[in-house]
């Protein structure tokens, strides 16, 4: 009779988890045959039969964590029988106490916090190794536990979509776009981890519940008039969820400049004269200069991914437009490649269509940076909330006449405009943000610099 012990593979290794038994009691094996697959936090190993014979007295089951050098099974010679006290179950006491397990595991690099309880330890380790975001994996284990197999299959799906595209039905993609939901966050129940429409909808509903939206119960009991209610659904709700999510997850910094707009106003006059009957708003000029500054400061025109920051080549500027019931952000694509008059035309068209509710999918897609303008309300300065996956948003306030010193120090009355940038500090450092604003100021105050 030969003992099969839990081998020690690593210097500091204290225990191993049994992942799989390749044999069962009574099986005939040759020396060297694989009896079991075990794993530690670092590595998966096979336990081989030390001798030829018949397997007996397997002591542990899949999932058990066993201290190294403990006996896990026996190999009997033909004719031998196992003593009763060595039958399975007798050595349960030798199993490592549960608390030792989590300590041996490294922290997962990816945000698995929400699913930590739902992953088996092995699954967690494999996911961490592969740098996977497990939040959208649906587990096939008991009570929805995510097993190693689930993680590996998910990894395969992700790698099959070379550029990280998530398999989703057309309906799911449309709903995700409409609800401003990132597909990769949605737990997928479709075949091959495909996101179905229902998945998007239930994700939205579920997150509606978790986002801190106060319920109306406990309202002040006495109101002299009738309470008017506005439905909290549709666009209003979508915007609310996005804002909440953004505010909760993005560490944003704000930097602001008060820009001297004299040169810009003169340029605006010229542009209006040139355009004749066509309207040229100040917005067109603003978009033009912001686009120019973004080209020079690509960090502000990027997106944060799992493992990399993507510097996007297209500068697509979203312009927040107020409409009935809320806010919509039509996009001016490739704003850096368009002249002021062309921008003006496009802005006019898209704003008009936004107000008439005639925007098409393409109008709302693909923004890489957003401008929010409350200037027309006489706002002095404000902070806008970043629209993920963008990393920046520029809040533009109204023109204010202020006294500023001229070259000789004498006070002159100029029109100034406050521009406050909110930037995702995970991607945009203070200096980078400052550089962007410095360029912006130059563009507005000395537009001829843009040509140099």
């Amino acid at each position: 009779m030969k003992e099969v012990i839990m081998p020690k593979f690593g210097f500091t290794q204290e225990d191993s988890e049994i992942v799989e038994w390749a044999v069962k009691d009574g099986d005939k094996v040759e020396q060297g045959d694989v009896l079991a697959v075990v794993t530690t936090d670092k590595v998966t190993m096979e336990v081989e039969a030390p001798e030829s014979g018949i397997v007996a007295g397997i002591q542990y089951k899949v999932g058990d964590v066993v201290l190294v050098t403990k006996v896990i099974a026996y190999i009997l010679k033909p004719g031998e029988t196992l003593p009763a006290e060595l039958q399975a179950g007798a050595s349960k006491a030798a199993a490592a106490p549960a608390p030792a397990v989590p300590a041996a595991l490294p922290q997962a690099a990816a945000p698995v916090a929400a699913n930590a309880v739902k992953l088996t330890p092995v699954a967690s380790r494999v996911a961490a190794e592969k740098g996977l975001d497990t939040s959208s994996i649906v587990g096939s284990g008991p009570n929805g536990k995510i097993t190693r197999a689930d993680v590996e299959q998910f990894a395969q799906t992700v790698s099959n979509n070379g550029n990280g595209r998530i398999p989703a039905t057309p309906a799911a993609k449309r709903l995700a776009r409409e609800q401003s939901v990132e597909l990769k966050q949605v737990p997928a129940t479709g075949p091959n981890h495909r996101v179905q429409a229902a998945d998007v909808l239930s994700f939205v509903e579920k997150n509606a519940a978790t986002v801190a939206v106060p319920a109306v119960q406990g309202l002040a009991p006495v109101q002299s008039g009738t309470i008017r209610t506005i439905p909290f659904s549709g666009m209003r709700k979508t915007i609310a969820l996005n804002m909440a999510r953004s505010a909760q997850t993005i560490p944003a910094i704000q930097l602001e400049i008060d820009v001297d707009m004299e040169a810009m106003l003169a340029l605006h006059q010229k542009a209006k004269t040139r355009a004749g009957e066509k309207k040229v708003s100040l917005t067109a000029l603003i978009v033009n200069i912001v686009a120019w500054a973004l080209v020079r400061n690509p960090m502000l025109n990027s997106q944060l991914g799992e493992t990399e920051i993507s510097l996007l080549p297209d500068v697509n500027i979203g312009m927040a437009v107020a409409i009935e019931g809320g806010l919509i952000v039509p996009v001016i694509h490739n704003a850096d490649k368009k002249g002021i008059l062309e921008l003006a035309g496009e802005i006019n068209d898209v704003s008009a269509r936004a107000r008439q509710n005639k925007l098409k999918g393409n109008d709302l897609d693909g923004a890489t940076f957003t401008i929010s303008n409350l200037g027309m309300f006489g706002i002095d300065r404000f902070t806008a909330i970043i629209n993920p996956p963008q990393v920046g948003i520029l809040a533009i306030s109204g023109l204010k006449k202020q006294f500023v010193p001229d070259a000789s120090g004498a006070p002159v009355l100029h029109s100034l405009m406050n521009m406050r940038l909110s930037a995702d500090h995970r991607v945009v450092d203070g200096v980078v943000a400052a550089q962007f604003l410095a360029d912006l100021r130059r563009g507005f105050e000395s537009p001829e610099e843009m040509l140099l």
Binding site: T169, P170, A171, K173, R174, G190, P191, Q196, A197
Partner: protein, 328 residues
């Protein structure tokens, strides 16, 4: 409303047209005293005589050519091809002459012929007498392709076809000839180029032709017991195809199943699937588009094999259920 069989409905359409219009006549094999292989023209010979119910030798090219020549010189011929399978002997006249004359002649010829074909499987007639050949004509501009699925549609679509100024391939199904249904007594036309939503439902859109419409209805009845609601659309005219009702339906249900007896490859189903994928319904699809079609084989003689060679009610039930439950 009184009920007629599909065959009676067709006969009534032809009779009414011939009574009203001396330029209408029927030409084909064994349609006179014999009354047609499937009895569709029974009694017409007695009423109209040999000049208007013209029995021909076994000459499908001749029959088709006769229809072309008569049509282009002011008549409204109705040709009958005894088994749709034989239409391939008429292909030259139908696709090279009838379909193209108007265009080739600068829009100056009109070829108002109807070619009635008896198609479909289920009668044990085996490989050369059981085909569904609509796909042969779908690829030919200049032709229209019509497939009535009920007695009411048979009469209305045939009357519409006789007076449509284009050459029309009118494909009937042998198993439908004896089926009964309500048929209005008056002269009415069912417009060509219009798809019918024959059943409403929220869970799955089925597009079916000819005999498969009946089978889909039966499948829908069964699935309704499980709470699954099928929406069934009968295109009626395959070319030109009225896509809008199908697009709207898929936008509603998110799922599409196309059912036809003809073989899957190169069939009508692929055409509908591609059209939907190119349409705005694409963004509303929540599952792959599926097709149920005849197996990739000639129709076998053995009854059981013949049964399993084309989509039957239980196949539709199973496929619909799988689609609705997210198996794909």
């Amino acid at each position: 409303m009184r009920e007629l069989t599909y065959a009676e409905a067709l006969r009534e359409a032809m009779r009414m047209a011939m009574e009203k219009d001396p330029t209408v006549f029927v030409i084909g094999e064994d349609i006179g005293v014999y009354g047609g292989a499937f009895g569709v023209t029974a009694g017409l010979f007695d009423q109209f005589g040999a000049d208007r119910i013209i029995d021909t030798p076994i000459s499908e090219a001749g029959i088709a050519g006769a229809c072309v020549g008569a049509a282009v010189t002011g008549m409204h011929p109705i040709g009958e091809i005894q088994f749709s399978d034989f239409v391939v002997l008429s292909m030259e006249q139908l696709t090279l002459q009838a379909a193209k004359m108007r265009f080739m002649f600068g829009g100056k010829a009109t070829v108002p012929l109807v070619m009635r074909l008896a198609g479909g499987s289920g009668t044990g007639a085996a490989a050369q007498h059981s085909e569904s050949l609509e796909a042969l004509f779908m690829n030919t501009p200049g032709l229209k392709v019509v497939m009535p699925s009920s007695p009411q549609d048979a009469k209305g679509l045939l009357l519409a076809s006789i007076y449509d100024n284009n050459p029309i391939i009118f494909i009937e199904h042998k198993l439908l000839y004896k089926t009964k249904g309500p048929v209005p007594e008056e002269w009415y036309t069912t417009p060509l180029g219009k798809s019918h939503v024959v059943r409403e439902g929220k869970d799955l859109t089925i597009v079916a032709t000819s005999m498969e419409v009946t089978r889909s209805q039966q499948a829908a009845d069964e699935l309704a017991k499980e709470g699954i609601e099928l929406e069934i659309i009968d295109p009626c005219t395959l070319r030109p195809l009225d896509l809008d009702p199908i697009v709207n339906s898929v936008k509603k249900t998110g799922k599409l199943l196309i059912v036809h007896e003809a073989v899957k490859m190169g069939g009508f189903g692929g055409e509908v699937a591609a059209e939907i994928a190119e349409s705005e319904a694409f963004a509303y699809l929540d599952a792959p588009i599926r097709r149920l079609a005849g197996l990739d084989m000639p129709i076998p003689y053995n009854r059981n094999l013949e049964y399993h060679a084309v989509p039957q009610v239980e196949n539709i039930v199973e496929e619909a259920r799988k689609l609705v439950k997210g198996a794909y």
